[in-house]
Symmetry: C2
Subunit: 357 residues, 2 copies
């Protein structure tokens, strides 16, 4: 089993709740799509093309300032449980990790990881550079990933067109190749039933939302990933600036909604959040989905200062470590173990007992 | 406000969980219906008749060995909240206490109370002697009430027919005038879905079941009152013996059901009972009905030794003191106070914090 704790920050530095607005925004992620000139793009690339791309990226990484010490995970050489771990840390997509039923990772599928920056190799594009930061920190996350992009750009021939910008496998990503997203917790807007209106508004200004695990994943526990819809026709700064403005507005709406809840339904909110805490603390069997929903309730209570003595970092860690593959790895079980819900409840209880509420 | 705590045992000695099988059987109650010769029975009695009956019963009580020190509550002179308190302690019926909407207690409606024995005056019958005991204790409860019956019978002309026995307002109570009932907690049979069969069986052997508050009340929290259906044609001993046998069988079924649950679904049972505990301990708003259901879950856990350190007596007290009138009296509120659910949650939390689980 790969030992993620050996990585500089275990690959979850972005979850330490140290960033701005960390009680509402869990993390900020920047992704840049890049491809190599002279190599077949995307689905049309055969195994030989993919392996060649990985070799070039690895060599460039090793020679670069920013990725010189990166750990490389060749996904086709990892066990399913290990690939699932990486996916649960939001470091690789489900597709790259070959986690769909009866699928396997293809040759050349890899992840380079150093600190808060990762590079997925041979996903939809040859390279997908990832920058992850705690809280709401678009500029810092971008600066980090941009530095890696500049570094690699000096060593690799990125496919670039003077008119269209960076060329990508799917035209919706062309131009900057940039997708910026924030993982945001919006229980106030959900409880006040304002969330529908807000999400509709997002679509009108070119943003989109997804669930915790990205494209196609369901929204659970009131956790939303907000990101830009298009990447073409605007500069990186414009895209980030626009997303930043909108997210700031959504944060404001969420804060207003929480204020309203505290004023108009203080008992209901306190009751909801403390019940969630009571269940997490005493249940003997917890599904991951229920755990997410309960963590959502407790997080709201912590955000409103109704529950004190419990850190947001602890809640974030629970969100990561109660996922099936993480839990199984932590407790020495198979991720398909039917006793996982019991194991999860025990694990959650142990963590909560260390923090006096 | 009447101060029930001034009564010898606060009127809830039967709830101290000291009796046999107290974790399954909360209490045993014996009721004897008696009427006075020369006074109009039941509904046909006018206010003057009723007042005359009360005078005679009071005088006899004062002159008797067993009721010489009884406290008398004249229900028509009590506030609604006070009458509700007595009803919540199962000392007076809803009808006698005039608790139905827009009703008032009629003149002459009274309760004499001494230790574990009470006498309702001018309910459906002139006298209804009540004996209450903790746990499953038919003989002890009967012995107590029989002694009072003998005492009063020497001082009052009980209507008695050589062929039919004691005459009562409603013919279904004639003969012995005895109704024996046990308040029993059957979560095992409910969870294993065997309860329907058991209740059907009861009807076939002349027993009946009701909810926590007697006739017409719903079953909540898996608490059932089992009692004999008829009183005629059998001696007191036969009736008690029969009920005793059947209840022992029901207890056995319940114990078997719990055993099966522990063997076949240990996690589910532990989860159910601990979730109930977690909610009771942390909720900020609790209706009485939910409280009963949660107490039922916790009581099962205590009975199965899954939850230790929490006494059955505490659970019994919570069952009494979270009822609207008790809670209101305890906390200096009106029983219609809309904040009662919040007050209830605070009160439950305070009690649970004193017992280390």
């Amino acid at each position: 089993m790969i030992d993620l704790s050996l990585l500089p920050d275990g690959g979850i530095g972005w979850l330490d709740a140290s960033g701005p607005k960390a009680s509402i925004v869990l993390s900020t992620r920047i992704r840049l799509a890049r491809n190599l000139e002279g190599h077949v793009f995307g689905q049309r690339a055969g195994d030989a093309d993919r392996t060649a791309v990985l070799t070039r990226v690895s060599e460039a990484g090793a020679a670069s300032d920013r990725l010189g010490g990166a750990v490389t995970f060749q996904l086709d050489q990892l066990e399913r449980a290990e690939r699932q771990l990486l996916h649960e840390r939001h470091l690789v997509s489900k597709e790259l990790a070959g986690l769909d039923r009866e699928s396997r990772p293809r040759p050349g599928a890899a992840l380079l990881l150093q600190g808060g920056v990762g590079v997925m190799v041979n996903e939809e594009d040859h390279l997908r550079l990832l920058g992850m930061r705690s809280g709401f920190a678009l500029e810092e996350a971008y600066a980090e990933v941009e530095a890696v992009d500049a570094d690699l750009g000096r060593l690799l021939p990125f496919a670039f067109h003077p008119e269209f910008g960076y060329l990508t496998s799917c035209p919706t990503n062309a131009g900057t190749g940039l997708r910026a997203s924030v993982l945001i917790h919006l229980p106030g807007l959900v409880l006040t039933k304002e969330i529908g209106k807000v999400l509709q508004g997002l679509a009108q200004v070119g943003l989109t939302f997804r669930g915790l695990y990205g494209e196609g994943s369901e929204v659970v526990g009131n956790f939303f990933q907000l990101s830009n819809q298009t990447t073409l026709g605007k500069s990186e700064d414009e895209l980030l600036d626009h997303l930043g403005k909108i997210v700031r507005q959504v944060i404001e709406y969420e804060e207003q909604a929480r204020e309203i809840l505290l004023q108009k339904a203080p008992t209901e909110v306190a009751d909801k959040t403390w019940r969630a805490y009571g269940l997490l603390k005493y249940a003997r069997s917890l599904s991951f989905e229920e755990t997410m929903n309960l963590l959502s309730g407790v997080r709201l209570g912590v955000g409103l200062n109704l529950i004190t003595g419990l850190s947001v970092y602890t809640l974030n860690k629970l969100l990561i470590f109660t996922q099936p593959a993480h839990l199984a790895a932590l407790e020495g079980r198979h991720s398909g173990d039917p006793e996982l819900p019991t194991v999860r409840a025990t694990s959650v209880r142990r963590v909560l007992e260390t923090e006096a509420v």
